[in-house]
């Protein structure tokens, strides 16, 4: 078992290297010169060249890559060209928002999505199921920005129950009531994702319900609750956990649109802004970290399979 974990960790390393190469090359294919962007249109070619040399942008690409990856391995992701701060600090500033959003959205998604999925499967093809199916499909088809804007219009602007935008830090101010700034964004993100989880849980459970051991469970005289949860749901967990893992990572960094709508200082917006500013080190840093987190979450999900299914333990 330990051997299995070690092997999985080790296999992450080449993937990470590959990811770093991909990230680096992609970023450096982006047309435009950071030095030029920083100095603006008025700068003289000499000054631009000077700046380029001082930032090391004139060295060959593989040298630049080596410098960068060497630094990363030592924990140094370079300096943000725009913020003049270490990239790690820049990301850390934004991490709070993104982490809180991801966590709270996930809680909403799990609490709403999974039980409704189970219920839909148990009451398959009933009115209730059709209602939930319809609602799920609807929410899965809504663009997040439109949903966000409408929610904002209703709750923040018309009813004035919640703030419209921004997010003052909780870590700095210690003020937990600031969480109310995250309510609308979390609902916006939770809606389409819950829909997907509902559908997945439902179809997974319906598949499992056809298994022979479920017939055995009924024949033993178990109650509907027991059969549903201990036999059907328990064996659907692998699919559900897998989907939830994937959802979590998407919530961490893929929330650009929601962050834009609600003006939240998150990681997604950081990427967009850095792209526009040609802030190479920051973009590289963020994307590499996101890739790393994704692989880590994937690994954890895979490990959870070993816990959830005894047949997998002995491989």
């Amino acid at each position: 078992m330990i051997a299995y974990i070690c092997r999985r960790f080790l296999s992450m390393i080449p993937s990470l290297f590959l990811a770093s190469v991909i990230v680096f090359s992609f970023i450096h294919f982006i047309p435009g010169d950071p030095a030029q962007v920083m100095l603006g249109d008025q700068a003289t070619p000499e000054r631009v060249q000077q700046l380029r040399e001082s930032m090391g942008l004139d060295r060959p690409l593989y040298v630049q890559y080596a410098k960068w990856i060497g630094g990363v391995l030592r924990g140094d992701m370079g300096q943000s060209i725009f913020f003049h701060k270490p990239v790690l600090d820049v990301i850390a500033d934004r991490a709070e928002t993104s982490l809180l959003i991801a966590v709270f959205s996930m809680i909403l998604i799990i609490v709403v999505g999974v039980p409704i999925g189970i219920l839909s499967a148990v009451r398959c093809n009933s009115r209730l199921d059709q209602l939930f199916s319809g609602a799920s499909m609807f929410f899965a088809s809504i663009p997040t920005f439109w949903l966000g804007l409408n929610l904002m219009l209703l709750f923040a602007v018309t009813l004035k129950w919640l703030p419209t935008s921004g997010f003052p830090s909780i870590v700095e101010s210690g003020d937990w009531s600031n969480l109310r700034y995250l309510v609308l964004p979390c609902i916006t993100l939770a809606a389409p994702n819950s829909a997907l989880i509902i559908r997945l849980t439902r179809s997974s459970m319906l598949d499992v319900a056809r298994a022979d051991y479920v017939k055995t469970a009924w024949a033993k005289g178990l109650s509907e609750g027991s059969v549903t949860m201990r036999h059907i749901f328990r064996n659907s967990l692998i699919s559900v956990v897998s989907a939830l893992g994937f959802t979590f990572v998407a919530l961490l960094a893929g929330t650009v649109v929601t962050e834009t709508v609600f003006s939240l200082p998150g990681v997604g917006r950081l990427v967009v802004e850095s792209l526009l500013r040609r802030d190479y080190p920051t973009i590289q840093g963020v994307i590499l970290i996101v890739a790393f987190v994704y692989m880590l979450v994937n690994l954890l999900v895979d490990l959870s399979f070993a816990i959830l299914d005894p047949r997998i333990r002995y491989s």
Partner: protein, 340 residues
């Protein structure tokens, strides 16, 4: 109510099962059979004959499959199972009537240990004095049952996961689980079909031993006449949802009184005769949604006459507990056929 017989454990009267669809079908169409205490009834038929459906009807699991029992009664120890509430039927399952299935490889939940699953079966039913059996005691009983079915190192096996056991062992474990609460009726749906021949014999022997020790009745469902000849006391032959013939085993094999049964027996290859071709019943089993009028077997029957197609023949008594749904059964009495 009507004449519920006290000497009969299970009494199916004219049971009908309906499944909706573009055309409604009746996989079980007026089935009547009975099982006495301590007896083994073999229910024989090809796939699609309705034998598994009959067993599901007895267990009250037809609704789970999307169908409904639309007619008849199922008397068990005097009570009509069809009149019971869901709760009451749930209690009957596993405690008074147990069932084991065909595929031991997939009939056990892969994520729980064998012991846990047996304990679950035991603790699902309340004790006569109220409450549930304590876990420790249930676990001991589970180990005891595993030993009883001949599984070596039962304590270790109880803590094992199903995927670590062979097919034969799993089927034994299933039997242990089914018998853990001492049911009076065991329904075995093709219990040995998925197993090797040598293991088949062992499992059948095991069922026979346990049945004798507990004075339990067995409804053995199979398509294999050989098995039925070995261990059944009486046999019922099913075809497209109807019972065509029912008789004590020896009688059935010595003097089958239905052309279908004869056809089945004649198609068994024999070592003591040399034949040029294997005999097979001509034609195919009709689909359940397109049954021929009258006797469903008539298109394939060498003895068919016009009157066979007019109405579904009734099950007639030929004496000595032998019943046949063939209008011409008397012609078959004289003719020496059969597999004896």
């Amino acid at each position: 109510m009507a004449d519920e017989r006290n000497d009969v454990l299970l009494d199916l009267r004219d049971v009908r099962v309906r499944f909706p669809g573009p055309k409604a079908v009746y996989p079980v169409d007026g089935v009547s059979l009975d099982i006495r205490p301590g007896e083994t009834l073999g229910l024989v038929g090809e796939s699609g004959s309705g034998k598994s459906m009959t067993s599901l009807a007895i267990m009250g699991l037809i609704a789970k499959q999307g169908g409904a029992v639309t007619g008849g009664n199922i008397y068990f120890k005097g009570r009509d199972l069809l009149a019971l509430s869901d709760r009451e039927m749930m209690d009957v399952r596993g405690r008074e009537i147990s069932m084991i299935f065909q595929e031991p490889m997939t009939s056990l939940n892969p994520v729980y240990t064998i012991g846990d699953q047996i304990v679950e079966a035991i603790r699902a039913h309340a004790l006569p004095e109220g409450g549930r059996m304590p876990k420790r005691q249930a676990w001991d009983r589970a180990v005891e049952m595993l030993a009883r079915v001949g599984i070596p190192s039962p304590e270790k096996r109880a803590s094992s996961w199903p995927h670590l056991l062979s097919g034969g062992m799993r089927q034994r474990a299933m039997i242990a689980m089914a018998l853990s609460l001492d049911p009076e009726l065991l329904i075995a749906d093709e219990p040995t079909t998925a197993l090797d021949v040598t293991i088949q014999a062992q499992i059948l022997e095991l069922i026979g031993e346990l049945k004798a020790a507990r004075r339990m009745s067995v409804l053995l469902i199979t398509h294999n006449l050989g098995i039925v000849a070995e261990i059944a006391d009486r046999v019922a032959v099913m075809y497209t949802g109807r019972i065509l013939e029912i008789a004590p085993t020896v009688d059935l094999f010595r003097r089958p009184l239905h052309p279908y049964t004869r056809g089945l027996m004649e198609s068994i290859p024999r070592m003591d005769r040399t034949v040029k071709e294997l005999a097979a019943i001509p034609g195919m089993v009709p689909p359940i949604d397109a049954l021929p009028p009258g006797c469903a077997f008539s298109p394939r029957c060498p003895l068919a006459e016009a009157r066979c197609r007019q109405a579904v023949p009734p099950l007639e008594d030929a004496g000595n507990g032998h019943k046949s749904r063939c209008l011409r059964w008397r012609d078959l009495v004289a003719d020496k056929g059969g597999a004896a």
